[in-house]
Amino acid sequence: MNPANTAFVLVSAALVMLMTPGLALFYGGMVRGKNVLATIMQNFVLLAVIGVQWALVGYSLAFGPDVGGVVGSLEWLGLQGVGAEPFKAYSETIPHSTFMIFQAMFAIITAALITGAWAERMKFNAFLVFILLWSTLVYDPVAHWVWGDGGFLKGLGALDFAGGTVVHINAGAAALAAALVMGHREGYGKEAFIPHNLPMTILGAGLLWFGWFGFNAGSALAADGLAASAFVATHLATCAAVLSWLATEWLVRGKPTTLGAASGAVAGLVAVTPAAGFVGPMSALLIGLGAGVFCYLAVLAKVKLGYDDSLDVVGVHGVGGLWGALATGLFASKAVNDAGADGLFFGNPALLGIQAVAVLVTIVYSFVLSFVLLKVVDALLGLRVARDDEVAGLDLTEHQEAGYSL
């Protein structure tokens, strides 16, 4: 037990927790005023829903004693035996409960990310049912594969420092399924869907950036040189992605936008997540530069492809996570973290292959299962609010509230 590491991971857990309200604001500012509360609510309530699910079953499924490499057993249901003693396979220096609660925040934010795909049109009850199923049947197993003691992708040697695959690709694939299943918002292509409050979005981006230091540096599970390295990589990739998103936008559209800066930051944070603890600062810069360009183009491509992923979960988290996971296969270096591996640019092309496999498995599993689950919930409850309710706005019709009464 090391109190410094415990302090660091507990504070990191608090930082990651703050990312969910941060995301709520990031998303909330981008929708129209009539849907601001419904959008925020779908994030905020996940703190509670997934928080409880995690304690009851999720943690056990994701990190519990391995069952065939694919899922954790039910031994730790209700956090049985998850106490002050460290669990060595995850960390020898912090209480097991500290690791558990740190990971809880990851499960929460992952589910929250997806909500951007169906913003402004999904029923609250259907949302609750779907997300519970998704977290239990998709997130928990995937987390086990990659991070769980005995997980098969971990066994393969796939690297995912803080969740490029588990969190972002996973959420992005689910978001794509959701956008396809749910269809366009009313008025799509005809009306202007203009963000109602961009300062709120920027505030959200600021809180996300802040919390992400806990996400990535905290994933070192110790307050050491590795944590510092991950912290630095996180910051530099994010900086670079802001610049490259803005530069691309400036070239393509003629003006750099504030929403572009915020989006670029998130893209950079996403892309560096899997790599944070495996790459040096200059590699992180390059990963960030790539993220800003690729995600911006992915967002533009959405319009061409014609699906309505309201807040660009696919373009930012899916594509950013994909780039980050592959980039880990390019830029990872044992000089930075010898518990990791060397990537293509450091003489080991095999890692890129392994990363590609991990990515592919996750995309296919997450997309297919999400698609099926959405169809099931649609059949049972209906996924979309009534047309009139959508026009009137979900704040009033789903929650009987108004965001603003100025």
Binding site: E191, A392, L396, A402
Partner: protein
């Protein structure tokens, strides 16, 4: 000249605008207003207290037009704004004595 004022449902603004463009009415002025009428407002709930919001958000469109266009404009708005449900709104027509375009000083029909 006449002033045509229409109080309509906010989500019909786009359609009405398009329809007016269709009959070559380019200029209009729009105001956000609160409507009270037969249509009942929604209830909002805050910490268990329920409030009947008695007004409904509406949009007021004002168009100044030469006398001979009034009828077409009124009909066009009616068709485009209609859903058939309570709360569709009203159109009022009233006299206007003079119109001036600030930029040029033109007056009367030429200024519209």
């Amino acid at each position: 000249m006449k002033k045509i004022e229409a109080i309509i449902q906010p989500f019909k603004l786009e359609a009405v605008k398009e329809a007016l463009h269709g009959i070559s009415v380019q200029g209009m002025t729009v105001t956000e207003v609160k409507g009270f009428g037969r249509q009942k407002g929604l209830r909002e709930v805050y910490r268990g207290m329920e409030y009947q919001v008695d007004f409904i958000p509406k949009v007021k469109i004002e168009v100044i037009a030469p006398d001979d266009k009034v009828e077409t404009i009124v009909k066009t708005i009616m068709t485009a704004a209609r859903t058939g449900r309570i709360g569709d709104g009203k159109i009022f027509v009233s006299p206007v004595a003079q119109v001036i375009r600030i930029r040029t000083g033109e007056t009367g029909d030429a200024a519209i």
